[in-house]
């Protein structure tokens, strides 16, 4: 769970004899007290939701939601997964998220490749227009998009959700990928051209593999964003059985009003895939989030 690189030896500081040892020790203690306290405070809600999810309903009802647990009961997970529809919603989420991530990255990297490696006319304008589409507040699109999907007969289907998600994300992914691809030296492409490779070969065999770090970062981000989405789902979907995890979680809340153990179990289940992606791609995930700052 950590992002530390091995700490560099603090040699230069140790050579400065200005501060007495006990003062430095006190300062280190203060740092750990502050940072540790904040961390505990930050993790507390997560610990709380996990402990609530393993309490029994009668324990919560008789001792109160905020009391220490007096029971250990995993049945809430079965309830949230089965009767509450969590399992089905999870399947829907994967049916939406995986194609969305693959399609967005494929289309965005194709556009980024052409725009960054060739003299396409107006390329800078195209990139910025695409990016501006992603910066639009989605509210302006909600009504027209839901009507458009009705018109095309895909309203209330996962297909509609996939297409909308791909369309809305493309601008940002293209922008980031073209920035990354532009830093790849031109000689590599020239050499391939001389060897007689066509643009598709160069794209697929050379540039795309070299873009892997950026693709991993964006893939992890896109997975989390799509998986956690609420707004687009409740805009183009209506039937409960096609709802992905996030809107289903809201439904669960309506269904199990005061069964906090089931609601908590649902929240834990809903978080598992994104936490797994985060743990697996941690380095890329964080560098992806930081892309905006470094650019």
């Amino acid at each position: 769970m950590t992002t530390t690189r091995p700490a560099p030896p603090a040699a230069p500081e140790e050579r400065v004899p200005a501060k007495p040892n006990h003062q430095r020790a006190r300062r280190t203690f203060g740092f750990h007290l502050l940072a540790g306290g904040l961390s505990v405070l930050w993790l507390l809600p997560i610990v709380l939701v996990i402990t609530t999810s393993v309490r029994s309903f009668s324990d919560i009802a008789s001792n109160g939601l905020g009391a220490l647990p007096h029971s250990f009961d995993l049945s809430s997970f079965g309830e949230a997964w089965g009767v509450g529809g969590g399992g089905h919603a999870m399947l829907n989420s994967f049916i939406v998220t995986i194609p969305t991530v693959l399609l967005s990255l494929l289309l965005a990297s194709a556009a980024a490749f052409a725009l960054s490696r060739f003299q396409i006319p107006f390329r800078r304008t195209i990139i910025l227009v695409m990016l501006s589409g992603n910066l639009l507040p989605p509210q302006i699109l909600l009504v027209p998009v839901s009507k458009l999907s009705e018109l095309l007969g895909i309203y209330d289907t996962l297909t509609a959700l996939i297409i909308v998600q791909v369309g809305f994300g493309l601008g940002f992914y293209t922008f980031v990928l073209q920035g990354f691809m532009r830093s790849i030296p031109d000689e590599i492409q020239q050499a391939a051209l001389i060897d007689g490779a066509g643009p598709i070969t160069i794209f697929w065999r050379i540039i795309l593999p070299m873009t892997r770090p950026a693709l991993a970062a964006l893939g992890a981000l896109a997975f989390t964003w799509t998986f956690n989405d609420l707004l687009w789902s409740i805009t183009v979907l209506r039937t409960e059985t096609v709802m992905p995890v996030t809107p289903a979680l809201l439904g669960l809340q309506g269904q199990y009003v005061s069964n906090w153990n089931v609601i908590a179990a649902g929240s834990v289940i809903a978080a598992v895939p994104t936490v797994a992606v985060f743990l697996r791609f941690q380095k890329h995930f964080i560098s992806g989030l930081a892309i905006g700052a470094i650019k």
């Binding site: 289309l107 194709a110 507040p137 009504v143 297409i163 369309g167 609420l230 964080i286 700052a293």
Partner: protein
């Protein structure tokens, strides 16, 4: 001369004749985005000038929807709440994120754990976040229990059901989730500062505050503008957390423009008026988008 000119000419022609497959590489994504983003956006502007229930044909009413906002109390509340939200959510997450980044910037024992702890909520969906905090805010939840334990029994109440506290009660989980993200942005920015600048400042006898004021802050300028854009766009978009905790209630006390727009469109089925509300959100975001794009454009050169 002719010999010299030949390669130049050939190169220019190669440049101009982009292979047709490459045009497809660009055209397909642009068409997808155009059809699902830009075309609907244009329709959104048009619909804001109509009355529409979503079933019969929209009727053109000019600027009536915008005129209606002036006398719409809920719009007033939502607009005010949105401003409060931008200032508090934006201001606190920027200041807090910078503070956390400064605190956890130096590589030392345990710092990786602290960063990860503060960063973890970013991974959760806002809906899950909202549900976690809803449980905390319950009348018999942890928050009230803690207040009771430290002798503040009179402060106990149902935070989300009280119009005076609902908006701020929703703000806390939003901040809980956003702070770690802003911290990552600032950590990346701090990493990019040349340590030699601090060495020089120390040699000149600069205090910690002076180092921050004259080295750190100016060096973070570009990160600040990114953080600012991200935060304002995020605040205007903020929907999930409010919708899952209060749906804008009680009595619209935690209503944001985004939640009001959604309920007007999909619950009241007043699609024309909702589109006009969306245009207001767009106009507010537009300034930020333009500033952001101008920056991206400049750095692109």
């Amino acid at each position: 001369m002719a010999v010299l000119a030949a390669p130049v000419k050939r190169r220019r022609r190669a440049v101009r004749r982009v292979p047709p497959t490459l045009l497809l590489f660009v055209l397909v994504p642009v068409a997808v985005e155009g059809f699902w983003v830009f075309w609907p956006a244009l329709q959104g502007f048009y619909l804001s000038l109509t009355n529409w229930d979503g079933v019969s044909a929209p009727t053109f009413v000019g600027l009536d929807n915008y005129a209606e906002m002036l006398s719409d109390d809920i719009f007033g509340t939502a607009a005010l709440d949105t401003v409060i939200w931008i200032v508090l959510f934006g201001g606190l997450s920027a200041a807090g994120g910078l503070g956390l980044a400064m605190l956890l910037n130096r590589e030392r024992k345990g710092v990786g754990f602290y960063r990860a702890a503060l960063f973890t909520p970013v991974v959760f969906s806002l809906v899950a976040t909202a549900l976690i905090w809803q449980a905390i805010y319950q009348p018999d939840g942890v928050f009230n229990n803690v207040l009771g334990a430290i002798g503040l029994d009179s402060w106990k109440h149902s935070w989300l059901a009280d119009p005076d506290t609902a908006l701020y009660a929703v703000l806390v989980p939003a901040l809980w989730r956003q702070l770690g993200y802003v911290m990552v942005l600032y950590l990346a920015g701090l990493k990019g500062i040349d340590p030699a600048l601090y060495e020089a400042a120390k040699l000149d006898g600069a205090t910690g505050w002076q180092q921050f004021r004259h080295v750190t802050w100016p060096q973070l300028r570009s990160v600040n503008s990114v953080v600012l854009s991200v935060i304002i766009i995020d605040s205007l978009r903020s929907f999930d957390v409010v919708w899952s905790m209060t749906k804008g209630g009680p009595y619209h006390s935690s209503e944001l423009l985004s939640t009001y727009m959604y309920s007007t469109a999909f619950q009241s089925l007043r699609l024309g008026y909702a589109s006009a509300l969306a245009v207001v959100i767009f106009v507010l975001a537009f300034g930020v988008i333009v500033t952001y794009l101008v920056r991206a454009f400049r750095e692109d050169q």
